[in-house]
């Protein structure tokens, strides 16, 4: 996976989160929780956009595989409003893994 494909993957996750945010009422505290995660994820995507790093390393590819796995978990839980806490946990995991990848790969963050 290239840096651009990773940026697209993050875009897919942002779109998934936006749909869930839009399903919640503003008074629901879980909306705020998801919005805060969304803000952080969007910022990571923006930072990635302006950086150069080697996307050919094994470490990068392994980290991206992990992110793809977490995205599958997000997709699995996001459709079910009753599973919202699982979705929030999975998005958190995605964010942590992404932050770790960016710190390791390019000294970003």
């Amino acid at each position: 996976m290239t840096k651009l494909e990773l940026i697209r993957l993050i875009g897919d996750v942002l779109t998934e989160i936006d749909t869930r945010i839009g399903d919640l009422l503003p008074s629901d505290p879980r909306q705020r929780e998801l919005q805060d995660l969304r803000l952080l994820l969007d910022d990571r995507q923006r930072q990635l956009s302006g950086k150069v790093f080697d996307d050919n390393t094994q470490a990068f590819q392994a980290a991206v595989e992990q992110l793809q796995g977490i995205n599958k978990d997000i997709k699995r839980t996001i459709a079910d409003i009753k599973n919202l806490q699982d979705t929030i946990s999975n998005v958190n995991r995605f964010l942590v893994s992404l932050t770790s990848l960016m710190s390791t790969a390019g000294g970003i963050v």
Partner: protein
Amino acid sequence: MAAQACTGRVDYRTPVTKFRDASAVVIETTKTYLSALNKAERDHYLRQQAAFQKQITASEINNVQVFSGDGIRTRLKALTLLSDYTELLYQLANSDAPTAIKGKASDLQTALTNLSGEVMTLGGEDNAGFKGAVDKVFPVIGKVLEVFVSRKIDDGIKAAIEQGTQPVNDLIDALKVDVEIAYQRRRSDFGTQRTMAINEYNKEFEKRELADAGKLRAYAEVISSVEDNIEAFLTAEPGEGLAAMKKANEALEKFAKKPKPSITDFGSFVDAMEAFSNAAKRAGDAVHNIQQ
């Protein structure tokens, strides 16, 4: 649609004209995307802060912009030169006035050299990929232009297509990455616009029996408008136009390399230009939505 005139020269005019016209559309849409990139990031930041009721800071408005002003300016100039290059190909195929064409080729060589110098002064990681591509590509295009300046027109168009295709495609690849990133960032902003519009409606809705019906209708219209913009935006990624340009460029090269193109070869070549023309139209139709 005769492949060869009675002189035995291959008639590139119609397909090269289509290539030039479709390239112009794709290059203009790409310029629009790149020009709007920093504005998109600023607006996105401001919308997010407003939506989540967070502080706005001047330094963060500066920080969120992906490319420097010089970075965007040089990319736009590179796109202009790419457009001038396709225009030159068009003139080579359509004109028998070698002096005028040699003059234009010489001017383009100078413009390339000047832009190359400007690009090399760009700093920042965000410009590294673009600088690398320019450093590799511009000297090669410069050598191709040298053929126009110093040799016969017939040699020029074949040389342009055979030797110029790879460097032109390398430049397209470098610009395509930037444009696709711009598209993804714009996509994120549209997501924010959508949730903002839905939240405004739902804040009024949560007032229950005290909700203002007129306001609810108005907010619903805003959501509808945002959804229309998103739908149109998702219709064509700008990178698709550039990818189609690259493919058409390769088809042009493949055709130019045929020593004696058949009617079938010519038909495939024309089909490739038609496909590019259609992709360019889609890109052109979608671009006005990024100004929403």
